[in-house]
């Protein structure tokens, strides 16, 4: 099994505060982490490798410091890591990102499976996985909460809003996994040593993976952000207290006052 796991380094949004004046994220002093569901993707890939053999290759696109995210997944057990890092790639939207990642995957050669996290906590788009599958012309199965490989296919249990669905797809295929899929392991001490002492992160610039210049970075990104803003906080609710009779009476009165009845 040759499994590729694209990952993203994101700000730890638990720590992120929003500047009330500008409406933008205050990123100063905020830790960078591996996108949580990408860790689930790594775990799923490592479990398959442990059972079926093969290799797990992690891939990321980002600034040079994104190498830290790749080192973390190498410390968890990934065999190799590639970082697409080039000023020309900056400003990419999901389309340009998916294009670059899929070009790099093509350059890496044959694969059986691509496992992605469902979505990143900073953008929440859930687009890059599916877009990559389209670029690579392989079947995609999203929202996986369980996956297994049976002969030449991947069998995936999808978690949907109204229930579960089991889908079988012929490999090579792309699967996006959700938090429920597994519990990611911790980086091992031996893995940390390997990640920090060996040259495990290969750095590629745009020409290394034959990206067409007009399809990358800012120029290759048709998405334009018009404005970002924080929705105004909702007014606090009003709590009615008293006996059920009093509460019902107050509620009716409020509804009537607001012309809801």
């Amino acid at each position: 099994m040759r499994i590729i796991v694209p990952i993203k380094q994101v700000p730890n949004t638990n720590d992120v505060k929003i500047d009330p004046k500008t409406g933008t994220l205050i990123r100063e002093g905020v830790d960078s982490i591996v996108n949580p569901e990408d860790l689930n993707a790594i775990e799923a890939a490592l479990e398959l490798r442990e059972r079926l053999g093969g290799e797990v290759i992690a891939l990321s696109m980002g600034p040079p410091q994104a190498a830290d995210a790749l080192k973390e997944v190498v410390a968890m057990g990934a065999d190799e890591a590639y970082l697409l890092t080039d000023r020309a790639l900056a400003g990419a939207d999901t389309l340009a990102t998916a294009y670059c990642l899929s070009r790099a995957i093509t350059k890496l050669g044959d694969f059986d499976l691509i496992v992605c996290g469902r979505q990143a906590i900073d953008g929440d788009t859930a687009q890059v996985g599916p877009q990559m599958a389209e670029f690579l012309k392989v079947p995609q199965v999203t929202y996986a909460c369980k996956l297994d490989v049976v002969e030449d296919s991947v069998v995936v249990e999808r978690h949907l809003e109204d229930g579960f669905e089991t889908v079988k797809a012929r490999m090579p295929a792309l699967v996006t996994v959700m938090r429920e899929a597994n519990r990611p392991r911790y980086p091992s001490m031996a893995g940390i040593r390997r990640a920090c002492t060996e040259d495990v992160v290969h750095r590629w610039v745009a020409t290394d993976f034959d990206a067409e210049p007009w399809r990358i970075g800012f120029d290759g990104s048709p998405t334009w952000v018009k404005r970002t803003f924080t929705p105004p906080p909702k007014a606090p609710g009003k709590r009615l207290e008293g006996t059920p009779r009093d509460v019902a009476k107050d509620l009716l009165k409020t509804f009537t006052e607001k012309n809801l009845l």
């Binding site: 410390a75 392991r185 091992s188 001490m189 940390i192 002492t197």
Partner: protein, 377 residues
């Protein structure tokens, strides 16, 4: 104090593990006195139980600073789990790495470093505490074996360990030069675990008595040379004291974290107690002493990584960090007031756990003696 990317990554990973796996069990094992087998198994899987041994012996090959950071981070949430890790690595496994034959390393160090086995070190006896030279346990050579008789007390992990290093007198009248160290496997006839001690703190760590009654072990289980036992345990304690310093540092940091959080939440006289200078001064003193402890502990670990003898620095870091932990946890209860005295908040546990760091692996008084001897000899 700048750490390498590797050491930073160890801190980040162990902290995450400590918060997600160790801390949720800390209060429970303190109350039930249960040994946290599940946590220890997971520490083994992560490579913590063999963190500083070479990969060829099943270890992770990291340095002593990384090891100290790991003990610190685990102890920051649970002293019991911290001492289990520290005693295993420094006392149970390290002497085998430092003094064992290749065969002994393959047989014992590999499973210990992989975390498949737990190790223990039996030194203290009813009449030989600080005066370790007063060891009464005997080992008599009989053909291809040694026959051990005697009792060891207060042994960390004695009842959960698969192998125990024990010191015994092989030649009477030679004082410290007549003591040797032996590897005794669990299940050896004549080896038994006695009373499980009831302690002030560290309830989730095992501390038991070991009894040798005509316990016959093969002569291959002699660790180092005959008469080298005192040197072996003094060497083990030089490393062990760094880990107890790290444990004390972790407990103190955990207590300070709890105080910072509590003092910002707790309101009295219409203000956060963090706004009162009395509380601010206590927190400032705690943080300063913790910073000093951290420098001493990491400094000692760095010297050890350079291959230097650390007798002086190990004693200093253990002395200072241990006494810091006791002062910090005492103030931590004070800041928490009545709530701090109750078991609902963790500072009461930190306070009980901290006391050991002024006693175990040599009391504070013995550390002062060691420091003075190093300076005045």
């Amino acid at each position: 104090m700048e750490l390498t990317p590797e050491q930073e990554m160890v801190r980040k990973s162990v902290r995450k593990f400590a918060l997600e796996v160790v801390e949720p069990r800390a209060k429970e094992i303190d109350e039930t006195c249960e040994f946290p087998w599940d946590t220890v198994k997971k520490m083994g899987e992560m490579g913590l139980m063999g963190i500083c041994f070479p990969p060829e012996y099943g270890g992770a090959g990291l340095d002593t600073v990384s090891y100290a950071i790991a003990v610190e981070e685990i102890s920051r949430v649970c002293g019991s789990t911290g001492i289990t890790l520290a005693a295993h690595v420094s006392l149970g496994a390290h002497p085998i790495f430092a003094f064992g034959t290749e065969e002994q390393k393959r047989k014992y160090l590999v499973p210990l470093a992989k975390g498949e086995w737990i190790g223990a070190f039996g030194l203290t006896e009813p009449n030989a505490g600080s005066d370790a030279a007063g060891t009464e346990t005997t080992a008599v050579k009989d053909g291809d074996s040694y026959v051990l008789n005697g009792t060891k007390i207060f042994i960390t992990s004695a009842s959960v360990a698969q192998v125990c290093i024990a010191t015994a007198v092989t030649e009477k009248g030679k004082g410290t030069r007549g003591i040797s160290a032996f590897l005794v496997e669990k299940g050896t006839p004549g080896f038994s675990v006695g009373t499980k001690e009831k302690k002030l703190g560290l309830h989730g760590a095992d501390t038991s008595e070991i009894v040798f009654e005509d316990c016959r072990i093969p002569k291959e289980n002699l660790l180092g040379r005959e008469g080298e036992g005192f040197h072996i345990f003094m060497n083990a304690l030089d490393g062990g004291r760094i880990s107890i310093g790290a444990m004390a540092l972790g407990i103190a940091q955990g207590a300070l974290d709890a105080c910072v959080k509590y003092s910002k939440e707790r309101k009295q006289f219409g203000r956060r107690i963090a706004d009162f200078q009395a509380v601010q001064w206590m927190i400032a003193d705690m943080a300063t002493e913790i910073a000093c402890s951290r420098h001493l502990v990491y400094h000692s670990a760095r010297l050890k990584d350079r291959g230097q003898r650390t007798t002086l620095e190990s004693a200093m870091c253990k002395l200072f960090a241990g006494e810091t932990a006791m002062r910090v946890t005492t103030k931590a209860i004070q800041i928490h007031g009545g709530y701090g005295y109750m078991r609902d908040y963790p500072v009461e546990r930190y306070f009980r756990d901290a006391k050991l760091t002024e006693i175990g692996e040599g009391t504070s008084e013995i550390q002062r003696l060691v420091i003075a001897r190093e300076l005045l000899r």
